[in-house]
Symmetry: C2
Subunit: 306 residues, 2 copies
């Protein structure tokens, strides 16, 4: 009997689930609108239902377990979300236990950025390495650290807060209390904010609006991406000097603007990390997009001890 | 028959060796002036002789192996020093093989900052944790990363280059090609250089001269240490946000000035790391001083797989 695991992603809008076999083949996927407003019990019900639906489709295979990527800090051993800024109702809610009550299979929780890093390591751009760092560029900047194929959690599950590395000590103020956090200079939100400062004479609602102007050759829009690349490069150079990993990946909404921000990013990295060029360190685009989290979550019950 | 290991430190001036038992008791120590000018073969001979001398003193115990801390990048598997700015003759020299030929015991090489971090973890200020980072403040700033009791090497043995984290993107120029490297703002050399900029009307030969003025209450000397503390705090806050480790240790010559630089250091860390206070993260002085490297080197053959 063939085996598979299910990865679940608690995204901002949708709950997504995918059945993936030990070789990384995606066997089935499912997506439903998340009813977060109805509370965590309801969401736990929905997740359990999605898992049951997939199970019934794959009756000839055996479910090894379920991994769930959650946007928050996780107490891995307790299976509880400790802090989740975007899902405050889930804080302290025993989501693992609640789903486990409905299903006879192991349930594992993990932070969403960590499962994305793990997914890239397993089946994405990091297949050929054991150690990598993933930076996810979105509203903020998060990320995951994979060492020897395992996620680095830190002693309170809070490792990988790359968005709050200081890149400019007197830079933009951040809600965290700091100035010059990477995510205030290089996230999708920061791109939009810098765009608004440029007074383009049209409304800038998102990073995509700045991108649209930049690809038309607007020099001020291009400078926004150049500035974003510099901030990323400063942070990446420090990460390379600290970790000496073979691979650093970027993912998230601003990735299509790679050609616009990468030149200044690499310029900063070459200047600021003396190990970058001689060691052949790579900085690349992540490969799995929004599916990275599904792969990484499904990998949790398959890989054991990662 | 009781067991012990020998830790060897290739210091700038002296070769030092210590016999340490598995409980961390120091059984014997030896120090000789290093004959680096006579070449690596001669130094390998001297190390082998030191080990033999200790072995003869401890005939009733069994030597488990020898660990050697070397100031350079090590190819751990090959037992070869790949790069050593202060010991260029040792680059590519098969030091492990050469010593092993003379002695019938396993020889393990490791970077000197890494063995210091491991020593602090085993018998020093990090005894009660599994994960820690050590920053060594000297001519430059190096350090080691210990995760789950093991050294993080990176894919080319170059992890832990904290001295080249960018703290001020437009700060002091560094020989590495960067601007604003931590070690240009917070090492012992940086303290001396900042002291010279202050025109105290007396010769400043070292950080100790600036320290002497500061403890007398000289306000400009005090500002040097305040500035050094700020740079350290910026770097430590980023490290805390990245690793979420329970403990960060400082060691090296400037440590006696702790009371002068720590206030500004902690002020920066509290402001720049939102996880620092709520998680109870600690920043402390290392406990073993120059012996950390001896303990860590001796621990290599004792701990296996660290």
């Amino acid at each position: 009997m063939s085996a598979y695991a299910i990865g679940v992603d608690l995204g901002g809008t949708n709950l997504r689930a995918a059945a993936i076999d030990p070789n990384g083949h995606l066997l089935a996927r499912l997506s439903v609108e998340a009813q977060y407003a109805a509370g965590p019990e309801r969401v736990a019900d929905e997740i359990a239902q999605m898992i049951e639906t997939i199970r019934q489709r794959l009756v000839d295979s055996s479910l090894q377990g379920v991994g769930i990527g959650v946007p928050g800090y996780i107490d891995i051993d307790a299976g509880v979300v400790m802090e989740a800024a975007n899902l405050p109702d889930f804080e302290g809610f025993p989501i693992r236990e609640r789903i486990q009550q409905r299903l006879d299979t192991p349930i594992l929780l993990e932070n969403d950025a960590n499962v994305a890093a793990l997914g890239e390591k397993w089946m994405g751009a990091g297949k050929d390495v054991k150690d990598l760092i993933l930076l996810t560029l979105g509203t903020g900047i998060g990320g995951g650290i994979v060492i020897d194929g395992k996620v680095l959690h830190g002693f309170r599950g809070m490792a990988g807060e790359f968005g709050h590395m200081t890149v400019f000590p007197d830079g933009n103020p951040c809600g965290c209390g700091n100035y010059g956090c990477l995510e205030k200079h290089a996230s999708a939100s920061a791109i939009a904010a810098m765009g608004r400062m440029m007074h383009f004479g049209r409304e800038i609602r998102s990073a995509a609006d700045v991108y649209a102007l930049a690809v038309q050759g607007n020099p001020r829009a291009l400078r926004v991406f150049e500035s974003m690349g510099r901030a990323l490069g400063i942070a990446l150079a420090s990460l390379i000097n600290i970790f000496n990993f073979p691979l650093y990946l970027l993912s998230g909404g601003p990735l299509p603007a790679w050609d616009l921000f990468a030149p200044s990013m690499f310029e900063e990295v070459r200047r600021r990390s003396f190990t970058f060029v001689p060691t052949g360190t790579r900085i690349e685009k992540a490969a799995l997009g929004a599916d990275a989290g599904l792969y990484g979550a499904a990998y949790l019950p398959l890989c054991h001890d990662c």
